[in-house]
Structure formats: C-alpha cells, structure tokens
Symmetry: C2
Subunit: 273 residues, 2 copies
Amino acid sequence: MSIYEFAMSIARLAGEKIREQLSHELVIETKSNPNDLVTNMDKATEAFLVAEITKHYPDHQIIGEEGHGKTITSTDGYLWVIDPIDGTLNFVHQQQNFAISIGIFHNGEKYAGIVYDVIDDKMYHAQAGQGAYLNDRPLPMLKETQLATSIISMNPNWLTKDYTYEMYAPIIRTARSARSYGSAALDFAYVALGIIDSYITLRLHPWDFSGGMIIAEEVGAVVTNQLGDKLDPLHSNSILVANSSLHKEILEQYLEPHHTALESIHKGTFSNR
Amino acid sequence: MSIYEFAMSIARLAGEKIREQLSHELVIETKSNPNDLVTNMDKATEAFLVAEITKHYPDHQIIGEEGHGKTITSTDGYLWVIDPIDGTLNFVHQQQNFAISIGIFHNGEKYAGIVYDVIDDKMYHAQAGQGAYLNDRPLPMLKETQLATSIISMNPNWLTKDYTYEMYAPIIRTARSARSYGSAALDFAYVALGIIDSYITLRLHPWDFSGGMIIAEEVGAVVTNQLGDKLDPLHSNSILVANSSLHKEILEQYLEPHHTALESIHKGTFSNR
C-alpha cells in the first residue's frame, strides 16, 4: 500500500469511528471563545491518526490541529498536516458538513491531499501529478469563469468587518451569487468539484488548507494567499482559490488595490502559526 | 391516498425524472438577468406537477413559480403553491442542493408542506398539526437559542447593499456564525432540522416559502416577515424564520429599530406578487 492509499485508509477508519460515536452524547469543551469549540472526538480522532501514522512511518513528521507537532520548523522528509475535524462548528451544530483533512508533503513538495466528508462518505483525494478524484470518479479540469458568472464561497462574517468589507463587498456584488458552507477543507473540495468557482477567506491554518490545496491544484485551481503568494504547510495564511482566469480577475482587479492594507493584515495576523 | 400522501408521491416522481435527465445536457434560458436562470427542466417539472394535480383534483387551484395561476386572488378551497426547482442557481451550477417545494392550503389555512431535496433523496414534510418529518423520521421540536450561540443563514449579498447592511450586519456580527446555501426551501427545512437556527432574507415569492413555512412551523419555528407580520400564500414577502426565542430577539433588538426603513422596503418591493 502506498503512503497515499494508507492515508485514505486511515481517514476512512477514523470516519467510521466518528459516525459510530455520533449517536452517543457529545462532550464539548470550549477553548478561548464560543466560536472555537472543540470536542473530545476531535482530540480522539487526531490521536488515532497520529498513532496510525507513527506506527507505520515512525520517521514521518506530523502537524495536527489539536496540538501535535507545534514545534516543527522543517519540511524535510515526509510531513503530514492533519485536521481531524475541519468545520468543528458544523460538527457541533449540524453533525454533518465536516471533513477529515490530510495534506502530505515530501521534502517541502506536495505529495497527496485528502478531504473526507465523513457523513456523506465522500472521499476527495489527489496524488500530486496524478489527478483528483471524488471516490473513484476522476474530476475534470476546471473551466475558466469570469466573476460575473461565478459563485463565490465567503463567510458573511467578513462583510461585517470594516477592514475586509472594502475589499470583499465589491467581489460579492459583482459575482453571480455567494455561498457559505462552514468547512474550509470542503470549500477547497467544492472548488475542485466545480460547484463553487472560488473560495475566499482570511486566517486559515496549515491543517485547514493543506489537504484541499493539493486536491484543488490537481484540477487546475490556482491557490495563493490574497497577496498572490504561494502557501506553505508551516504557516497560516489568507486564501484565494479559484480557476486560473477567475483567480487572476479577483487578485488583480479587487485585491491588488488593497495591497498595502492586506500586507498589514498579514503581518499582524500571520506572524506565527 | 390522502392529498398529503399524493403530494409526496408526485414530488418523488418529479424528482426521479429530474435525476434521470440530469445526465443529459441542460438547455438553459436566461430570464431578465443572469441571476434569474431558468431551465427547461424547471418548466417541464412544473407542467408535470400541474397535470398530475389537475388530473386528480380538477377543482384545486395551483400557483407555480413558472407561471401557472398568476391571476389567482382567492384562497377558497384547496390551493397548491409549487416551486418545481427551488435553488435554480444551485441546480445550474451544482446539479445538487435544490428542492421541489409544495405548500398546500385549504380555505386559506395551511394543510401540508413538502420540501424534497432531489439529489440527496431527502423528503422534508409535514401535515398541519401532525408534526414534521425527514423521510420517516419525526423531527423534534426546536430548542430555544440565543443569537450569540446561533448559526444564521443569510446570503452574503445582503451585506453588500447599503439599505440592508445597517440592519443585518449587527445580526451576523453577534451570531456564532453564518451560512448560505442558496435554496430558500432548503433553508426552511434546515431550520426545521435544527442545523441552522434562523434564516433571514428579503424578497421571497409564495412558491419559495409556502412548503418550508408549514414544515418549520410544525416543529415550533416562528415564521413572519421582518416586520413581524404573518405570511400569506398569495403575496411575496421578506422572511424571518427562527425558533421562538431567537425570532423574538432578532425581531425586537435588530429589526424593530429599522421598522420605518423596512416598511418602505416592503411597500416598494412587495406591492404585488
């Protein structure tokens, strides 16, 4: 079994455990604020994934949303970046629309990405250079779109803040329509699937975007931060993912005029992981 | 077979036809603007539903999104209010996340509501006074929530317009989070299911809200326009649907301060169907 196939197999196993346990009572803790809920299942899932990876590949490095590998600073060898439950708020409020996200890098280069929609049992996956899939179905390359005929995924929250309203409201006004689904990993998968044309957000951590980024890039999506810079698996960042023509249109016409403000946001918010 | 069971049976039949035809090419027309797409399948589905209803119940009145019954002004007898494909833009862009919506009234009183998520084969349904269901599963009564711990469904578009930003931005800022799914009928169903706590929008037509309203009210949701007035199946309106405590909080603390502006919006926008 390749590392890629192994990654899918442990994501499926973890998903089965989550589905089994969802009928039992959730024990929910709050982190720093009510928007930052985390559940025992989140921690148990990360522990399971880390244990499985370590058992099979003891020399691989692992960064996890729940705290594993916070001190990792090198991308040498294999690096796993995992979010045991991406879309925690959906998990808590909806018991659906959340995903297990896994990005795997080798010597800093992308190797494979997995986003597993646990409740719908939909496995989005890609090995770098080999194309992306939803379960066994190969996903076609993205079509180019223009903003006026595109559907953009953006959380309405970003339009209620002064420092992002000025940048983002014109994008949403021009777009055909907007959606918000509440899981970054699934938003990347939905861009790869072509059901949304772009996903725009600030402040994602590596475990939120690494798996989805690798999948989306396999079907031709362009993934950068909102300054147009490449993402890396060791640093949090802002996100602009879209098909190539739409990425160019949004970046050049809507974000570059706010370049100075955006640089300042990035310095303030993303100085460390 | 009761009228209620008959309504579910024709929704299922229509859904089967849509699923069969979705593998074939869509022929899309544009109405007045690119946001108002309508497909041949939309028209064919309405024609099928109207023909079935008329065959079995020749004396029933029918209002449809695609044009049937535009001149109806009386709610005497049985009145069907149908949207063959609610979430047309999802239908066109995603080929999922759309629904067949049917609301049935008898002498102006609600009789039954149906929202059928065609691709996920999920039938949300309720007969007035008999409780609401997802497929065969009875839906529990809604829990009361407060805005700070609630998830609100609102299209980000409403936050880019001056006349709605002032009213809506404080709601989204205070809420735990926001979502946007792109089908009004499904948004009502999601409130009934408890996966979102409120759905807020302007400008819905009777066929957008009639089916979902009847379902949501069966589990204790309060459904009014944004002035706090009851909806009726002959007139377009704004929408505030939520569990009772949340409905009260949003209406009294966030919308009533804008009562005059809202009255003006309603007079301008909803003077006719």
